[in-house]
């Protein structure tokens, strides 16, 4: 009896959590007349890819298709990941492998800057981007997201670096390897899985971001996906089929990546609160 109640509650929670995602995908596969029918169908009865075809090939503005926004977003996210991964790896190595005077201060600073409300930085960063002449360019976003993703990336990566047994590097040093060689041949390959996990977080940060992309980009051809979606679909018209198809294409990579690394998220954010 008690078990039934627990399982029932579990199913309700699962339904509440997963339903919107299901509904997004289901709607994207329904023909328009099914979407706008008076009685909604729980499953698409006549599944179709017409909405996907429409958004991928149709021109949203002359000469610009949805695929272009996809590409803009990908360029920004991948560049952010590459830069932030490199810089974070260097910093994480410093923190995890060396004892130096400002080490603890640096770690506390990392913790504090992660709490800066990024929403409050739109205006001063807009000023900086204007001054640098980067307004309306994708690098303005890459630079911004690099700053946003870096503190968490270092915080997360230092754990991976610290987990690599130091003896390996010492052995390499005894064998005559230089510091650069040790780093490249020993540390880097062993930290690579951690680097992948960290990169995924940076990717998601850059991929999902809306406010700065909305503010720094003026030219519609350079919109990232989130801006394009709010701009073309978020207003009054409600072409829910294409909107849901676009949403699905935007969401799926994030969900897949996220599921790969979600465990790190909890340990990263609740750092040290849960022992074991």
């Amino acid at each position: 009896m008690k078990k039934v109640a627990l399982n029932g509650a579990g199913l309700l929670v699962a339904l509440f959590a997963a339903f919107p995602v299901y509904w997004m995908i289901a709607t994207s596969l329904k023909p328009s007349r099914e979407i706008f029918s008076a009685t909604p169908r729980p499953v698409p009865t006549h599944p179709t890819l017409e909405h996907y075809r429409e958004i991928l090939t149709g021109n949203l503005i002359p000469g610009v298709t949805f695929a272009d926004f996809f590409l803009n977003s990908a360029v920004v996210a991948v560049s952010t990941v590459a830069l932030s991964g490199l810089v974070a790896l260097l910093a994480a190595t410093a923190v995890a492998r060396f004892r130096f005077r400002l080490r603890t201060s640096f770690l506390i600073m990392l913790l504090v800057v992660q709490m800066i409300p990024l929403e409050a930085l739109v205006i001063p960063l807009f000023l900086m981007i204007q001054r640098l002449g980067l307004y309306n360019t994708l690098p303005s976003l890459i630079l911004t997201y690099l700053g946003f993703s870096l503190p968490f990336a270092v915080w997360m990566l230092r754990g991976f670096v610290a987990a690599v047994p130091k003896e390996l590097e010492e052995a390499a040093a005894i064998d005559g390897a230089s510091r650069a060689q040790t780093f490249r041949r020993i540390l880097f390959p062993l930290v690579a899985p951690g680097l992948v996990a960290t990169s995924i977080f940076s990717f998601i940060t850059a991929w999902n971001e809306l406010i700065f992309a909305l503010t720094f980009i003026n030219d519609q051809g350079r919109y990232t996906l989130p801006v394009a979606m709010t701009f073309f679909f978020g207003r009054d018209d409600t072409a829910w089929g294409p909107v849901m198809a676009a949403s699905t294409l935007f969401t799926l990579p994030v969900i897949i990546f996220f599921l790969l690394v979600q465990r790190r998220m909890v340990s990263g954010l609740v750092a040290g609160a849960v022992k074991g």
């Binding site: 409050a120 001054r131 700053g147 969900i255 849960v274």
Partner: protein, 328 residues
């Protein structure tokens, strides 16, 4: 678990004579340099800059480019905001929204965490996977889907209310035809739906964190208490809660920080920055700064107020984390 205080270097490494003979090693500082420059330029400098900007009258993008001068107006931006009754509305919206959302997220998240801990292995995996879906979904698309669910013609909720027997619907809500009903028109309804969206996004993190905490508590304690006939309510407040107090502390502070500056969900749900009665601090700051006519200085002042509030909350957070690190 890695901590602030643990020394990644083993004692063997510290006795390494080669290292001892080199009193100041420049290498760690060199490795940190790019990171420090980026954080300094892209996070700390703008943080200072937003304060500076709040003391000027900046109503033209040419001032930002440096083509025109910046008139210093002291605290005028602040007196203008604080003297405007609308600011009180915004502040009330922000605080009430944050309090309601933190409370609901914590309650739902904790309940789901406790539930996951009690479910059988297969069922727990299934429910946890579904919960992960809500967590992984980007704020943007999650909100768009909820907007579709609340669509006034073909949305699921509209259909659901239309499906109610007319008499019942009439008696309860005073209307039986819900087609065309503006779900987002009254501020209270808008905030209710926004709360639904935000709680849906944020309860998974709480649930998973609470579950992780529960796994670290020896289950004998709970079993013993239950054998002694304690109710689930008592077990939670007498055993689970005190043991997980540090986890709850951090989760509440993090949720407060996040819910205080909700932007994307509100922007998408309201379809832009036109719906002034539902403004909260972050969207208020953005709208003042960027909706024409631009008022960058005024927006900066609002951003400073938001930051100051969050600074206090962050202070609590850092103190808590540092205490954790010391204990472990």
């Amino acid at each position: 678990m890695t901590t602030l205080t643990d020394a990644p270097e083993t004692s063997a490494a510290r006795e390494n004579p080669a290292r001892r003979s080199r009193p100041v090693d420049r290498l760690p500082y060199l490795l940190l340099l790019p990171c420090l420059v980026i954080i300094g330029v892209l996070l700390l400098w703008p943080l200072g800059q937003v304060v500076t900007m709040s003391f000027y009258r900046l109503n033209n993008v040419r001032q930002l480019r440096g083509d025109r001068e910046w008139p210093w107006i002291g605290l005028e931006n602040y007196t203008q905001i604080l003297g405007d009754p609308f600011f009180l509305t915004v502040l009330r919206n922000t605080v009430l929204f944050a309090v309601a959302n933190v409370a609901l997220t914590m309650i739902l998240g904790t309940l789901v965490g406790l539930l996951l801990n009690r479910l059988g292995r297969k069922m727990a995996t299934f429910v946890a996977s579904c919960v992960m879906l809500a967590w992984a979904t980007p704020a943007l698309t999650g909100t768009i889907v909820w907007k579709w669910i609340f669509d006034d013609t073909s949305g699921l909720v509209t259909w659901l209310f239309n499906a109610l027997p007319d008499g019942l619907s009439q008696a309860l809500f005073g209307r039986s035809d819900w087609t065309g009903y503006g779900w987002f028109n009254s501020p209270l309804l808008f905030f209710s739906i926004l709360t639904l969206v935000v709680v849906w996004h944020s309860f998974p993190f709480i649930a998973v964190s609470v579950l992780a905490g529960l796994k670290s508590v020896p289950s004998e304690l709970h079993e013993a208490a239950r054998v002694d006939g304690a109710s689930a309510w008592r077990v939670f407040w007498r055993i689970t809660f005190p043991l997980l107090r540090p986890v709850f502390g951090i989760l509440i502070v993090l949720s407060t920080i996040w819910d205080f500056k909700v932007f994307t969900q509100q922007f998408v749900l309201a379809g832009g920055t036109q719906d002034r009665p539902t403004f909260m601090l972050s969207i208020y700051s953005y709208a003042e700064a960027f909706s024409p006519p631009p008022k960058y200085g005024l927006g900066a002042a609002i951003a400073v107020i938001l930051t100051a509030i969050l600074l206090v909350v962050t202070g609590f957070y850092v103190r808590m984390v540092l205490r954790q690190e010391d204990e472990s």
